[in-house]
C-alpha cells in the first residue's frame, strides 16, 4: 500500500468512527409536542377554549379539569362542570376537593342524596373538612325537609 492510500484509508476509518459517534447520539429523541402544549405547561390559558385544548393534550390533568370546571360553573354551564368533575374522580377517586365541588353541583340540581354521598366521600379523605361538613349538613337538612 502506498503512502497516499495509507493516509486515505486512515481518513476513511476516522470518518467511519465519527459517523458512528454521531449516530449514537440519535438514540434518544425527545418528542416535539404540539406547540400549544408549551402554553399549557408554561402559561395556562384562562378562557374555556384554551383550557379545553390543554385538556385534550393532557387528558389526565385534574388541575386543568378543576380550572375548567370552575369556569363552567361561573358561566352556569353546570352539566359540563359536572362531567369534568366526574372525569377528575375517574382519574383520582380520593380527591376530597373534587368530591365537594361535585356535591355542590348535585345539591344545586336537587340531588341531595348524591350530594350527601359526595360529602361523605370528601370527609373520608379530608376528616373534619369545613366545606364537606357544610355540604353534608345542607344535603341532610334538605333531605330531612
Amino acid at each position: 500500500m502506498n503512502e497516499r492510500a495509507r493516509w486515505g484509508r486512515l481518513l476513511a476509518i476516522a470518518a467511519l468512527l465519527l459517523a458512528l459517534g454521531i449516530s449514537a447520539r440519535g438514540l434518544r429523541p425527545v418528542r416535539d409536542a404540539d406547540t400549544f402544549a408549551a402554553v399549557c405547561e408554561l402559561n395556562p390559558p384562562r378562557e374555556a377554549a384554551g383550557l379545553e385544548r390543554c385538556l385534550a393534550l393532557q387528558p389526565r390533568d385534574i388541575e386543568i379539569m378543576l380550572d375548567l370546571g370552575a369556569l363552567y360553573e361561573a358561566n352556569a354551564a353546570f352539566e359540563r362542570a359536572e362531567a369534568l368533575y366526574r372525569r377528575a374522580l375517574a382519574v383520582d377517586t380520593k380527591d376530597s376537593d373534587v368530591h365537594v365541588r361535585l356535591g355542590h353541583l348535585l345539591l344545586r340540581r336537587g340531588d341531595r342524596a348524591a350530594a350527601a354521598e359526595e360529602a361523605r366521600s370528601a370527609l373520608m379523605y379530608h376528616p373534619r373538612s369545613a366545606r364537606a361538613s357544610d355540604l353534608l349538613s345542607h344535603a341532610a337538612h334538605g333531605a330531612a325537609r
Binding site: G21, A24, L27, A38, L42, P127
Partner: protein, 828 residues
C-alpha cells in the same frame, strides 16, 4: 505444572487488588457522601475488618512480592530496583505496624493524598516488571484478524446476555414486557453490540494505521493500546463509577486517571511475565491480552461456551445489592475482555495473511447502515403494530434492565445536547458539595420562639428506614401481614399522597429535622441553626429518648442534657425496631413519674436493603406478590409495633401522644430491574408511608386533607402547629402543617415541589398536587416523567419539549433559591 509466570501474574493481581482497595477506601472517604453514609456508619462489615487487619494484609502482600521477585534479588538476574522496592516496602510495613494509618482516614484531603499514594506501590512494581523482564519482539497486528475478532466478540457477547434475558425477565418482579417488545430489545441489543465492537475495531485500526503511517514500530502500537485502555478506564471510572457517588471535579479526575493508569501499567507488567513463556510470534494485541491468554484451544472453547453462564452469574450476583446497575455494567467489561481475548487467541490461523482489505472498511459501513435502518425503521414498524405500549424508548430501557451489556453500551453511547450538558452541569455543581466552607443559616418557623402556647403532647417519631408504603396494609389492601400497623392506622390519619424530599437517608432525615430542603451537602456545620425541630424541643422542654444514629449525632451536635439514648453502643446498621421498642417501653415505664413531655425518635434498619437481603426468611414464610426478604422483616416489626402500641395504651400514653410512623424513603424492589434507592428519585423511592396519630382532644378538633400532597418535611411544621404556634409559610421548599384547626380549610397544594436524591445530581419536580413527577438524572444524562394519579407508583409517560423546558426551569429556579439562601456559589 503451573508456570512461574502464571504464579507471578496471580501474585501481582492479588497485591494490586489489595492496593486498589486501599486507594478506593481512602479516595471514597474523601467523598463526604461515601464517608458519612457508608464508611463511618459501617454499613458493610468488610471495610472495618480490612482496616483492622490492614498491616497483616500488607505483610502478606510483601511476602507475595518477595516470592515473585526472588529470582531478581540475587544471582545473574539481580535487579537493584527490585531489592530497593522490597526494602522500602518492608520499612513501610514496619512503620504501619507501629502507626496504623487506615484507622486515621477521614473525610479530609489527606485521605485523598494517602489513597493516591497507595497507587505508587503497584505502579512501582509494574515499572520494575517492565525493567526485569526483557521486551520481546512484536509483529504488526493485522486488521483482518482484529475485524474478525471484533465481529465474533459482538455476536458472542450479545448472545451471552440475550440468552439469559427472557429468564431474567421472567423472574424480574417489576418489568412488564410483551414478547414483541423483547424481540425489539434483542434486535436493538444486537445492533448496539455490532456498533460497539465496530467502534473498538475502528479505534484499534486507527491506532495501528497511525503508527504505521508514522513509520512507527509495533512497540509504539502496544503502548498506544495501553494508553487507550488507561484512558478508557479513567473515563469509565469518572463518568460511571465516581459520578454514581457524586464524586466529581478535579480531585475525581486525578483519582480516575491515577487508578486507570495504575491498572493499565500493572496489566502491562503482568503481560510481560506471561508473554515471556510463549514461543510464537506475538503482535501488540496478543501481548496486551497475554495476562488472560489460555494456551489450550480446547480450554478456550469451553470457556467461550461457558461465557453466558459467567455473564448471567456475574449480573445476578450483584443485581440486588447494586448501585443503580453500576456493578452490573462494570461486570460487562470483564465479559467483553474475556470474549475478546478468547476469540483473538483462536483467530491466530491466517493471521499472517494481510490484511487491509476493503472488507475491513465495508463491514463497519454495513454495521452503520444496519444501525440507521433499525433506528429509522423501528418506529415505523412499531407504529404499524398499533401497540401503544411499544414506545421504543421505554422498551429499550426495560430490555436494558435485563441485558447489562446493552445497558452499558446505551450509557456509553449517550451524549447530551449543549443545552442539556449545561443544565446537568449546573445540577452537578450544586450537588454533593464537598470540601467547601458554607456557613449555616438561621431557620425559624416562629420568631421569636417562646414557650408553646398550647399543650405539650408526648411525641414519637418512628422513621423506618426504606419502608415502602405498598408493604403495609393502610396503603395496600393486598397486605395481610401488618395487622399491628393496620390497627394503629385505624386510630390515626393516613396521608395517602406522602413523599420524602430526598431519595435516601443522608438528606431525607435532615430535611425532617429542618422542616424543608437544604443545601446538597453532608453536612453544614454547625447544623443546629437550621434544626427547627431541635429548637422546638429545646424551647418546649422536651426530654429526648433517642437513637443517636450516624445522622442524628450530626443533627443535634454537642451535649444534650435531656437525652436518654436508645440503642447505645449498637452499630446503626443493627438498629432493630423490635429491640428498640422494647427498650423504649422500659424507659417510658421508668420515667413515668417525670412530668416533662418526651420526644422519642428512632431510625430502625430492619428493612434496609443491606439488611433485608442478607437475612434469611424464616422457614415456611411466603408472601405471594411481595418479595419475601422484605415482607418477612416487615411482618416482624409490625408485630413488635402492635405490641408497643398496646403497651402505650396500658401506660395511658396512647391518647396523650403524637405518634408518627413514616420512612425516610422507599426502595426499588425490581421496578424496571432496579433494586435499592442509591441516587435515584423514582416514584417507588420517593412515595412513603406517613401515618400520624394525634392525642384524642387534638384529633377531635383538627382537620386534614389526607389526599393532598404531603411531605416528611411537613412533620416539623406540623409539630409546631400542634403545640399552638403559627409556623411561617416559606413556600414550596419548606414544609407546612398537615393539620389545621377544624373550621379552617386547607388550600389545594398546587405548587411545584422540588425533590432530590441525597447522593447524586438527580432531581425531581412534583406537580399537580403530587400527581405528576418529572425526573432529571444528571448522572446518566436522562429524564423521565411519571403520571402518579392512580395512587400507586405511577405510569411512565413520554417527555415532550414543553414538559422538559418547564420542569428544567422550575428545578433550576428552586435549586438556585436554596443556593442563594446559603450564600453558596459553585465553582465553575
Amino acid at each position: 505444572m503451573i508456570r512461574r509466570s502464571t504464579i507471578t501474574a496471580v501474585g501481582r493481581a492479588a497485591t494490586t487488588i489489595f492496593y486498589l482497595i486501599t486507594a478506593a477506601y481512602c479516595i471514597l472517604s474523601y467523598n463526604s457522601f461515601a464517608y458519612y453514609q457508608f464508611i463511618r456508619p459501617e454499613v458493610f462489615a468488610w471495610p472495618g475488618d480490612f482496616v483492622a487487619l490492614y498491616h497483616w494484609f500488607f505483610g502478606v502482600c510483601w511476602l507475595i512480592n518477595l516470592l515473585t521477585l526472588m529470582p531478581y534479588i540475587s544471582g545473574p538476574q539481580r535487579s537493584w530496583s527490585a531489592v530497593a522496592y522490597l526494602a522500602a516496602t518492608a520499612l513501610v510495613g514496619a512503620w504501619l505496624v507501629k502507626n496504623p494509618l487506615l484507622p486515621t482516614i477521614d473525610n479530609s484531603p489527606r485521605s485523598l493524598f494517602i489513597g493516591l499514594s497507595a497507587l505508587l506501590f503497584p505502579l512501582a512494581l509494574a515499572i520494575i516488571d517492565h525493567a526485569i523482564v526483557p521486551a520481546r519482539p512484536l509483529q504488526d497486528s493485522r486488521e483482518q484478524r482484529l475485524l474478525r475478532t471484533c465481529a465474533m466478540a459482538a455476536v458472542v457477547v450479545w448472545a451471552a446476555y440475550a440468552i439469559a434475558a427472557p429468564y431474567r425477565l421472567h423472574r424480574a418482579p417489576g418489568i412488564d414486557m410483551a414478547a414483541a417488545a423483547v424481540m425489539i430489545g434483542m434486535i436493538a441489543s444486537g445492533v448496539a453490540h455490532g456498533m460497539a465492537m465496530t467502534a473498538v475495531f475502528l479505534l484499534l485500526a486507527l491506532v495501528t494505521g497511525l503508527v504505521r503511517a508514522a513509520r512507527g514500530r509495533a512497540r509504539a502500537e502496544y503502548w498506544l493500546l495501553v494508553l487507550a485502555v488507561a484512558s478508557g478506564l479513567a473515563l469509565i471510572l469518572y463518568f460511571m463509577a465516581f459520578a454514581a457517588v457524586g464524586f466529581a471535579g478535579a480531585a475525581a479526575w486525578v483519582a480516575s486517571w491515577g487508578l486507570g493508569v495504575t491498572i493499565a501499567i500493572v496489566w502491562s507488567g503482568i503481560a510481560r511475565h506471561r508473554a515471556a513463556d510463549r514461543s510464537e510470534t506475538l503482535d501488540a494485541v496478543d501481548l496486551f491480552l497475554a495476562p488472560i491468554y489460555l494456551p489450550s484451544r480446547a480450554v478456550r472453547g469451553i470457556v467461550l461456551l461457558l461465557l453466558p453462564v459467567a455473564a448471567f452469574g456475574l449480573a445476578s450476583a450483584v443485581e440486588q445489592m447494586d448501585w443503580d446497575f453500576l456493578m452490573q455494567k462494570l461486570s460487562v467489561l470483564v465479559v467483553w475482555l474475556l470474549a475478546f481475548s478468547l476469540i483473538y487467541g483462536r483467530n491466530r490461523a491466517g493471521a499472517e495473511r494481510d490484511t487491509s482489505t476493503p472488507m475491513t472498511l465495508v463491514v463497519p459501513a454495513a454495521v452503520l447502515a444496519a444501525y440507521w435502518a433499525v433506528s429509522l425503521g423501528a418506529p415505523a414498524v412499531i407504529g404499524l403494530t398499533g401497540n401503544a405500549r411499544l414506545n421504543p424508548e421505554f422498551v429499550l430501557d426495560s430490555y436494558a434492565a435485563v441485558d447489562p451489556s446493552f445497558h452499558f453500551i446505551k450509557d456509553v453511547a449517550h451524549a447530551n445536547s449543549g443545552e442539556a450538558a449545561e443544565f446537568y452541569g449546573f445540577l452537578k455543581a450544586h450537588t454533593t458539595i464537598n470540601h467547601v466552607n458554607v456557613d449555616p443559616v438561621d431557620i425559624d418557623f416562629v420568631h421569636p420562639l417562646g414557650p408553646p402556647p398550647g399543650p405539650r403532647p408526648n411525641v414519637f417519631v418512628f422513621i423506618v428506614d426504606s419502608l415502602r408504603r405498598d408493604y403495609i396494609s393502610p396503603y395496600n389492601k393486598n397486605v395481610t401481614f401488618t395487622p399491628g400497623i393496620d390497627a394503629f392506622a385505624r386510630e390515626s390519619f393516613v396521608f395517602d399522597r406522602a413523599f420524602t424530599r430526598y431519595g435516601a437517608t443522608g438528606l431525607a432525615v435532615p430535611s425532617i429535622w429542618i422542616g424543608g430542603m437544604t443545601l446538597h451537602m453532608q453536612y453544614i456545620r454547625p447544623f443546629v441553626p437550621m434544626n427547627t425541630l431541635l429548637k422546638l424541643l429545646d424551647v418546649a422542654g422536651y426530654r429526648r429518648i433517642m437513637g443517636m444514629d450516624s445522622i442524628a449525632v450530626r443533627m443535634v451536635e454537642g451535649p444534650m442534657p435531656l437525652l436518654t439514648e436508645l440503642d447505645k453502643g449498637i452499630p446503626v446498621k443493627e438498629y432493630d425496631f423490635c429491640r428498640t421498642l422494647g427498650e423504649l417501653g422500659d424507659k417510658l415505664e421508668e420515667g413515668r413519674s417525670d412530668p416533662r413531655p418526651f420526644f422519642a425518635y428512632t431510625l430502625p434498619q430492619n428493612i434496609h436493603i443491606a439488611n433485608a437481603f442478607r437475612t434469611a426468611v424464616p422457614e415456611g414464610e411466603h408472601y405471594p406478590g411481595f418479595i419475601d426478604q422484605v415482607a418477612a422483616p416487615v411482618r416482624r416489626i409490625d408485630a413488635c409495633f402492635g405490641r408497643f402500641v398496646d403497651r402505650l395504651k396500658a401506660l395511658g400514653l396512647f391518647d396523650t401522644s403524637v405518634i408518627i410512623l413514616t420512612s425516610d424513603h422507599g426502595d426499588s424492589l425490581g421496578e424496571e430491574g432496579r433494586f435499592g434507592h442509591s441516587y435515584t428519585v423514582f416514584p417507588e423511592v420517593m412515595r412513603v408511608p406517613l401515618v400520624v396519630h394525634l392525642p384524642k382532644p387534638m384529633a377531635e378538633t383538627m382537620s386534614a386533607d389526607l389526599t393532598r400532597v404531603a411531605f416528611t418535611s411537613d412533620i416539623t411544621p406540623t409539630l409546631y402547629a400542634l403545640l399552638g404556634y403559627h409556623p411561617a409559610e416559606y413556600g414550596p421548599l419548606y414544609g407546612s402543617p398537615l393539620f389545621n384547626p377544624a373550621p379552617d380549610e386547607q388550600r389545594r397544594r398546587r405548587d411545584p415541589y422540588l425533590l432530590s436524591s441525597s447522593y447524586g445530581a438527580v432531581y425531581g419536580m412534583l406537580r399537580h398536587n403530587g400527581r405528576f413527577l418529572y425526573i432529571t438524572d444528571a448522572v446518566e444524562g436522562r429524564d423521565y416523567a411519571y403520571d402518579l394519579a392512580d395512587g400507586g407508583f405511577g405510569t411512565r409517560v413520554e417527555i415532550t419539549e414543553a414538559m422538559r423546558a418547564l420542569n428544567w426551569g422550575l428545578i433550576r429556579e428552586q435549586v438556585s433559591r436554596i443556593a442563594a439562601q446559603y450564600h453558596f456559589t459553585p465553582r465553575q
